[in-house]
Each structure stands twice: as structure tokens, then as C-alpha cells.
């Protein structure tokens, strides 16, 4: 994300993706390349996949990034990695809130209530709790080195326990999300989710665009906190 062309390219890319996500008409029998199929029970609401899913995806990317920077901090004891870890976690919290709020508005119209404790809703809720705990822990430690170490350790422990939800959840309840096992349309597990090729293309472009946007935001945040960090150092 160094050159201006890359940034402008990303902005143009995302603009096109967002426009496509909203403008492409939904018809019963798609003929032209831009016509999306109507999914029964979802109709126009299906367009949320272009906006809500990238938020949830970016939350996971941020979570993994934060854990990896935590590991690197523990290995090198370089506070710069801690700075990156916090920045990733802070942005992850923002995307997590966005994913939760947008999903819950959509759920109101699709499933009838704002919150249903569907497996994925539960998982994103746990991620939100982990981010909350992470920042609560950070605010409770004064010494920089210690704060960085403890929060890195916590994020690694959280990182190894969260994947257990993948095994635990299907035993407890069936999913409501389109494409999950309990979906009445019988689409099967998410990997087999049948999506029209053009819809899939817009979806993947959106995932890519928002992920790159995340890295741009992350880069800005790290640079700002690095400046803050160095401007505070000499006075102490």
C-alpha cells in the first residue's frame, strides 16, 4: 500500500464492487452476464452478502493478524510488533461491531428477530467478547513491556480456543445462515453453497477489496501510533 496508484486502484475497485452489488438486477431467469438469480426466501436481501460477509471475514483476518503479531512480539520483544497487534485488534473490533450490527438488522427481516443465537452469531459474539477482554486486560496493566506480553499471551490462548467452536457448534444447534447445514433450502455446508458464477465473482471481489481496505486502514493506524509512541519516548 505504498504507491498512490495502488490506493486509487483500490478505491475504484471498491466503488465498482459496491455499485455492482447494488445495481445488478435480480431476475428469475438470468440471461445476461450482469443479471443475478433470485434466491427464494432472500430476494433483494441476498445482496447483503456483498457487504456483511466481508466485514465478518475482515474481523477474522484482523484477529489472526493480531495473534501473529503477538507471537512475533514474544519472540523478538520488539514493542513495534505490539503496536501492530493492538492496531489490528482495534480495527478488528470495529469490523466486528459492523458485522454484528449489519447482520442483526438483516436477521430482523429474515429470521424475525434481531438476535437468534445462530452458530455464526454466537461465534462473532465471542470474538467481540475476546476483543473486549483483550482491551480490558491492556487497560489493567501499566508497564508497557508487561502489558504487551500479557495481551500477546491472551490473544494466543484465545486464538487456539476459538477454533473449537467449529466442532462444538454443530452439536448444539443447527444453523440459520444461508448455506449452513440447517438451511431449509438444503444448500449443504458452506463450502458447497451454490452461488451463481457472476454473484460469486462480485462476492469474491468484495472480499478482496475490503481486505485490502483493511490493510490500508491498518497501515495508517500503525503509522499514527508509531509516531505517537516515538514522540512520547524522549520526554519520559
Amino acid at each position: 500500500m505504498k504507491s498512490a496508484t495502488a490506493k486509487i486502484g483500490l478505491v475504484v475497485w471498491l466503488t465498482l464492487v459496491i455499485s455492482a452489488g447494488i445495481l445488478f438486477p435480480m431476475v428469475a431467469a438470468p440471461q445476461k452476464w450482469y443479471e443475478l438469480p433470485i434466491i427464494p426466501g432472500l430476494e433483494e436481501k441476498a445482496r447483503i452478502i456483498f457487504f456483511h460477509v466481508p466485514m465478518a471475514w475482515t474481523t477474522v483476518v484482523a484477529f489472526i493478524a493480531s495473534t501473529i503479531y503477538g507471537i512475533r512480539f514474544l519472540m523478538t520483544k520488539n514493542l513495534d510488533y505490539d503496536l501492530r497487534s493492538v492496531s489490528a485488534a482495534g480495527l478488528g473490533t470495529m469490523f466486528c461491531i459492523l458485522a454484528t450490527v449489519t447482520g442483526s438488522i438483516w436477521a430482523k427481516f429474515n429470521w424475525g428477530s434481531f438476535w437468534n443465537w445462530d452458530p455464526r452469531e454466537t461465534s462473532i459474539f465471542v470474538l467481540l467478547l475476546i476483543y473486549g477482554a483483550y482491551f480490558a486486560l491492556r487497560s489493567a496493566v501499566d508497564v508497557e513491556e508487561k502489558r504487551a506480553t500479557l495481551s500477546a499471551v491472551y490473544s494466543i490462548i484465545a486464538g487456539v480456543t476459538v477454533p473449537f467452536f467449529i466442532f462444538v457448534m454443530p452439536r448444539i444447534m443447527t444453523g440459520l445462515h444461508p448455506g449452513s447445514k440447517g438451511d431449509p433450502q438444503g444448500a449443504g455446508p458452506v463450502v458447497q453453497f451454490k452461488m451463481a458464477p457472476n454473484m460469486l465473482l462480485v462476492f469474491l471481489s468484495s472480499l478482496l477489496g475490503f481486505t485490502l481496505l483493511y490493510f490500508w486502514m491498518f497501515n495508517l493506524k500503525v503509522r499514527a501510533s508509531r509516531l505517537e509512541f516515538h514522540s512520547q519516548q524522549p520526554q519520559e
Binding site: I22, E44, K45, I48, L91, M94, L98, W106, L220
Partner: protein, 44 residues
């Protein structure tokens, strides 16, 4: 309000996109505030 939205589903998508946009704006403003603070501390 809810009935209207249930009938015009594209508006739901619209609300969702606006929320994401709002989230990004909040981020921008906070970054802006941080950088202004930095500028002041550099001037001192």
C-alpha cells in the same frame, strides 16, 4: 417503518451499506483527531 422495509428490501441493503460507511467515517474522524494531536505535540 418495519412494514415499509419488509416490502422494499433494497432499503435494508441500503441501511446496511450506510452503517458500514458510518463505521468507516468514525474511524476516519478518530484517526484525524489522533493526527491533529500529534501535530500539536510536534509543534511544541
Amino acid at each position: 417503518m418495519l412494514d415499509f422495509l419488509a416490502e422494499h428490501q433494497l432499503y435494508i441493503v441500503m441501511i446496511i451499506v450506510l452503517m458500514i460507511w458510518a463505521g468507516f467515517l468514525v474511524y476516519l474522524f478518530r484517526l484525524d483527531g489522533r493526527i491533529s494531536k500529534l501535530e500539536q505535540s510536534v509543534k511544541k
